[in-house]
């Protein structure tokens, strides 16, 4: 028997926690008490159907995106497809945007009545944010998912036109084809940021070395959307040059995405190297690293 979706308010009394299977959302809305309350209630109701709708289309969601791929029916499935389509023919499945797309969708549910001042939906680090007027959103950027030390902080305002933040890397919940410790992307929505972060992290890689250990994804997760592609399971300390080259490959891909208007900015980190691409004013403020 499957567990049912669960909902509760966290200990601080303000944040809503929704969980169903792999979906784990931390939601906070700001505004009049009643407005927040009714937004949470709407979110709870819509949340109940998300996972079952996604599961119904799982086979398409796990298939590489292509111009001939069947259009998805569910609202979130469509968001996922839309987010990954621009990256074709690079290998990517709609699943690369699943966390971000869910966050975006839930944010749209929260903000339907247009009365909130500010809101965010955090789906395991992939965050959809809504800001009105003078509201700001402060984020701390972690460049190593293992140590979780905050490398720098930045403030997003509504002028920045950034509504999505996503982080991908080796120590996250999904597998990576690359070796980046963390890639954080800011984009117009969370699904786009999610997909781009995944692909930029995949590009941070070194070839022909015994220092990186990879195995087929389906040995780790039998039903992985990455099938038998090799995913990283271990990275030894790399020579500085090699690591810099790997990061540079990621930067090239990020710059390409920025040029094409897909994302706004990205940070890429690997073994102590941190590179920032894009709107430097956004990502480099308050950071204590050398850029």
């Amino acid at each position: 028997m499957h567990n049912l979706p669960q909902s509760g308010i966290l200990n601080d009394g303000n944040r809503l926690h929704l969980n169903h299977g792999p979906i784990d959302l931390i939601i906070e809305a700001f505004g009049d008490h009643e407005v927040v309350r009714s937004a949470y209630e709407k979110a709870q109701i819509k949340f109940n159907h998300i996972l079952t709708e996604l599961v119904a289309e799982l086979s398409i969601l796990r298939a590489p995106v292509s111009p001939t791929q069947k259009l998805l029916k569910s609202a979130i499935g469509l968001r996922m497809q839309e987010a990954v389509y621009p990256f074709h023919p690079t290998f990517v499945t709609p699943m690369a945007a699943v966390a971000g797309a869910i966050a975006d969708y839930m944010l749209s549910v929260l903000c339907e009545n247009n009365k909130l001042r500010k809101a965010y939906v955090n789906n395991g680090g992939d965050i959809a944010i809504y800001l009105r007027d003078d509201e700001v959103f402060n984020i701390g950027i972690i460049t190593d998912l293992k140590t979780r030390a905050i490398w720098g902080t930045t403030t997003i305002t509504h002028i920045d036109n950034i509504n999505g933040i996503a982080t991908s890397g080796r120590h996250g919940r999904s597998h990576s084809l690359g070796i980046a410790d963390a890639v954080t992307v800011l984009a117009k929505n969370s699904a786009q940021a999610d997909a781009a972060a995944t692909l930029i992290a995949n590009a941070v890689d070194v070839q022909n070395t015994t220092l990186v250990k990879k195995i087929p994804a389906n040995e780790l997760s039998p039903d992985s959307d990455l099938a038998n592609q090799l995913v990283t399971v271990d990275v030894a300390k790399l020579p500085q040059k090699l690591a810099e080259r790997a990061v540079a490959q990621g930067c090239d891909r990020a710059v390409d995405y920025i040029d094409r208007g897909l994302i706004k900015a990205a940070t890429i980190s690997l073994q102590g190297i941190v590179e920032v691409v894009g709107s430097r004013h956004i990502l480099t403020q308050n950071c204590n690293a050398k850029i």
Partner: protein, 506 residues
């Protein structure tokens, strides 16, 4: 392991609709169900109450009257079911069945979260105000979620939720009922409106806000009781005292309490139905005026004074049951009461009423029935658990808070939500509330009720994250809390030292 074992160690998780295949020693997409050596295990945070040095010193030093001669609880842990998860709706043993020792007694605690499709909330609102007729519907966001039930001493009771609102009405009614109960149980403020009555904001442990008015005081007693309590303190200072109350208005000169101290007659006459001497029902309509009546001018409840007894200059004090309203009168030449400034020597006798009133509060009790699969998580014979609870052999707590178990069939419990850890309640969309529940008993009693003896593990092991034999749930991370000092320690020696069927709280 043989060659073909690789496929058998890959397991299919049935915890959610994704139905992940999980390879050995890996976790599923959620990171909270994992395959450990071919077994599906669960990893989630859990709330543990820790009785540490500091926490148990406080009651010991400040409340020596509670000393019952038993051994002081040692630094101690109690695993609550907050975050424990549930095996509902299957028949598996509860997520945690842990053993421990209290002094020389072996104790077992069964820890699970219950999903309560049959549950409700009883709300006590301390007020004299008339908030609406009995049996009127109570609504939240326009949906019926309960009703006004009995008026009690200085308070009004509401009954919210219950299976008929949860599942018996429209889908929307069930949803709003569920969220109303959830918010009440998590001590959130909830706006309720009563048909033909008031709009009330209810929050556990906070004063009720009735039609925008924050209720400050709960009356010390009804009008008659107030007379009984304070008659001697008024004697000699004023000729007559009337306590205006929608339920029982009291008149000191006629009341038994006045008679025994030889309070002289005053010729006062009250409009209302006389119950016994000095006690009057229905002096006015219920409302938001004096003492829960609809009147703003207290003289409205008086008829003319009896000219054969009353005399000009005679004094009269009228007070509401909370002392919130009061007025002082003297009779003129034609025996008509004229309002005068309160004499100084009456100020204290008036304020004694106010001073004896307690703060008006809303209190919220969760009421729920331990269902079939919840009980199956404890024992193979659910009825034996019920009997063990009824015989006081098994103690039931919710998040470590004490519960009241209703007599009669089944395990229907009530618990004060403010004694439970914050935000203990959750919900599932069936709709139903999710609440923690723990059963604690002597190991021998657990065996006697057909408990899952093979699944017991020592508390210390569970705290260290070692798997229970049901392999269902590893305690990987947890939230440690100090106990609510108003609660008896759930594993106190006194609960388990007697084998006789006595209630140590009684």
């Amino acid at each position: 392991m043989s060659e073909n074992s690789s496929s058998s160690t890959k397991i299919r998780c049935d915890a959610c609709p994704v139905m992940c295949y999980i390879a050995e020693n890996k976790s599923g997409a959620c990171d909270r169900y994992a395959n450990e050596n071919g077994e599906l295990v669960r990893v989630d945070p859990l709330t543990i109450i820790e009785y540490d040095e500091e926490a148990h010193l406080v009651p010991f030093l400040t409340d020596e009257t509670d000393w019952d001669g038993s051994i002081l609880p040692k630094p101690d842990s109690f695993i609550t079911a907050v975050g424990a998860g549930t095996t509902y709706p299957d028949y598996k043993p509860a997520p945690f069945i842990v053993s421990s020792k209290v002094d020389d007694i072996d104790i077992v605690t069964v820890v699970t979260e219950g999903i309560y499709s049959y549950c409700g909330v009883k709300v006590k609102i301390d007020t004299d105000r008339h908030i609406g007729p009995e049996t009127s519907l109570v609504r939240a966001k326009g949906e019926p979620v309960g009703h006004v039930t009995t008026g009690e001493y200085g308070s009004q009771m509401l009954s919210i939720g219950g299976v008929n609102h949860l599942t018996g009405g429209s889908k929307k009614e069930g949803r709003i009922t569920c969220s109303t109960m959830l918010n009440l149980c998590n001590s959130e403020a909830v706006e309720l409106s009563i048909d033909d009555g008031s709009d009330i904001i209810v929050q556990a442990g906070k004063p009720p806000i009735i039609d925008g008015y924050v209720e400050k005081r709960m009356r010390v007693g009804c009008g008659s009781a107030t007379i009984g309590m304070f008659a001697t303190q008024w004697k000699g200072l004023v000729d007559e005292v009337v306590i205006v109350d929608d339920h029982i208005t009291g008149v000191v000169s006629e009341h038994q309490a006045g008679k025994v101290i030889d309070w002289p007659d005053t010729g006062i006459r009250i409009n209302g139905r006389k119950s016994t001497p000095g006690r009057y029902f229905q002096v006015a309509e219920p409302g938001n005026g004096w003492g829960g009546t609809d009147i703003e001018n207290p003289l409205e409840i008086l008829d003319d004074f009896n000219p054969k007894i009353a005399s000009p200059g005679q004094s009269l004090l009228m007070i509401s049951t909370t002392g919130d309203q009061f007025a002082y009168f003297e009779l003129d030449g034609s025996l008509v009461p004229i309002q005068k400034k309160i004499p100084e020597n009456l100020e204290k006798p008036i304020s004694i009423i106010t001073d004896n009133c307690e703060p008006a509060l809303c209190t919220v009790l969760f009421i729920g029935g331990a269902g079939g699969s919840l009980r199956a998580g404890v024992t193979e014979n659910p009825v034996l658990l019920t009997r063990s609870v009824k015989n006081m052999l098994t103690r039931v707590t919710c998040g470590g808070a004490p519960t009241y178990i209703w007599p009669g069939g089944g395990i229907t419990l009530m618990v004060d939500v403010t004694r439970m850890p914050k935000n203990s309640f959750g919900y599932v969309p069936t709709p139903a509330l999710v609440a923690p529940i723990e059963f604690t008993m002597r190991a021998e009693d657990y065996k006697a009720l057909g408990g899952h003896m093979d699944y017991i593990q020592p508390t210390e092991e569970a705290l260290q994250g070692i798997l229970g034999p049901q392999n269902d749930h590893i305690l990987r991370s947890d939230i440690r809390k100090t106990p609510n000092l108003n609660n008896p320690w759930p594993r106190d020696y006194k609960y388990f030292s007697q084998t006789k069927k006595e209630n140590p709280d009684a």
